[in-house]
């Protein structure tokens, strides 16, 4: 099998748990690059990028970046047009 050096959005759940009140892996994201909508769990996740980078599985644009330093966590969401969740 070919080497595939990415995981998926499931592996970002812990890192993002402090930023979102709900589970982000089930949220639907819309890619700002190509318009594709998909559950965040299906996005391609690159770890130690540095930090984590989630990319659109369709067009490979960056959806989200999260970097944790000893004191702060940075979340860059500019690659997503929206995140969509069901109302509880």
């Amino acid at each position: 099998m070919t080497e595939a050096n990415y995981l998926d959005g499931n592996a970002a759940a812990g890192a993002l748990s402090n930023m979102f009140a709900m589970d982000v892996t089930s949220a639907i994201t819309r890619c700002e690059g190509c318009g594709r909508t998909a559950v965040f769990a299906e996005s391609r996740l690159y770890v130690d990028a540095p930090g984590m980078v989630a990319r659109c599985p369709g067009c490979d644009s960056v959806l989200l970046r999260v970097v944790t330093t000893p004191t702060d966590t940075y979340l860059d969401l500019r690659g997503m047009t929206y995140l969509r969740v069901q109302n509880s």
Binding site: A4, L7, A13, G14, T25, A41
Partner: protein, 241 residues
């Protein structure tokens, strides 16, 4: 979600390179089958590395279990499989994950397809199914290199004894005597052993990224609804097992 410290209360060797770690975690809130934890190691110089590991056990109160496969030259798994011992602390964060989850109240048959250590969250789902005495039909396709690679051998035999649970192993490099086929999961294997698309099963596919993507493509190619296929990709599995 905060990092918390669990204590190792037991370890069980599953295969030559995989080990189950039993953890006592104070105030564990419970978890759903399929969820995972992040594990963090801190070196004396402050360097930190963290990886995600699926919870292997169903929640019945008490301890939780993780099963870790050793990745050669890995940053975290060699410590967990070779060094960590009973009485040691372990920093974890979780449980997390709401997509790759099965709960007994979900409707419809369940198809589980695991490759290598991808079996771990699927086994949690099977255990959860058993604990709940669920009558939901479950089928498992578990792809391994050889018989010695099988994690949870006894457990899977016990689970397969249930009328609702069907367990099928697929050997990719070396099969036991009498096993007709050696090779990866392909369209024919799915055709023979997986629920048909018309059954409307929810399918959970877990394992190394190439495995998951190959299997997901095969499922879609066979007519399964992509919206009913849930995937979880793991990092590389260790080699000879």
């Amino acid at each position: 979600m905060k990092w918390q410290v669990g204590t190792v209360t037991d370890v069980r060797q599953e295969t030559a390179s995989a080990r189950t770690i039993v953890l006592e975690v104070p105030n564990w809130p419970g978890h759903a089958a399929g969820q995972h934890v992040d594990v963090r190691l801190t070196a004396p110089d402050g360097y930190r590395a963290s990886r995600s590991y699926s919870i292997a056990s169903a929640w019945t109160g008490g301890t939780i279990e993780l099963t870790v496969g050793e990745v050669p030259e890995g940053e975290v798994s060699p410590y967990l499989v070779e060094v960590l011992t009973v009485g040691d602390p372990l920093e974890i964060r979780g449980p997390v994950g709401g997509w790759f989850v099965w709960r007994p109240e979900f409707e419809g048959p369940v198809q589980l397809i695991g490759g290598g250590s991808g079996i771990v969250p699927l086994r949690a789902m099977l255990r959860s199914h058993a604990v709940a005495t669920s009558t939901t039909p479950f089928r498992l396709l578990y792809s391994v290199r050889r018989p010695t690679s099988v994690i949870y051998v006894e457990d899977l035999k016990e689970l397969a004894a249930s009328d609702e649970v069907d367990v099928r192993l697929v050997y990719t490099r070396e099969a036991p005597a009498g096993e007709p086929r050696v090779g990866r999961i392909d369209a024919e294997v799915l055709e023979q052993h997986a629920f048909r698309p018309e059954a409307g099963a929810t399918t959970y596919v877990c394992g190394p990224t190439p495995f998951v993507e190959t299997v997901a493509n095969l499922l879609v190619g066979a007519g399964h609804d992509p919206a009913r296929i849930r995937t979880e990709r793991f990092g590389p599995t260790g080699d000879p097992q």
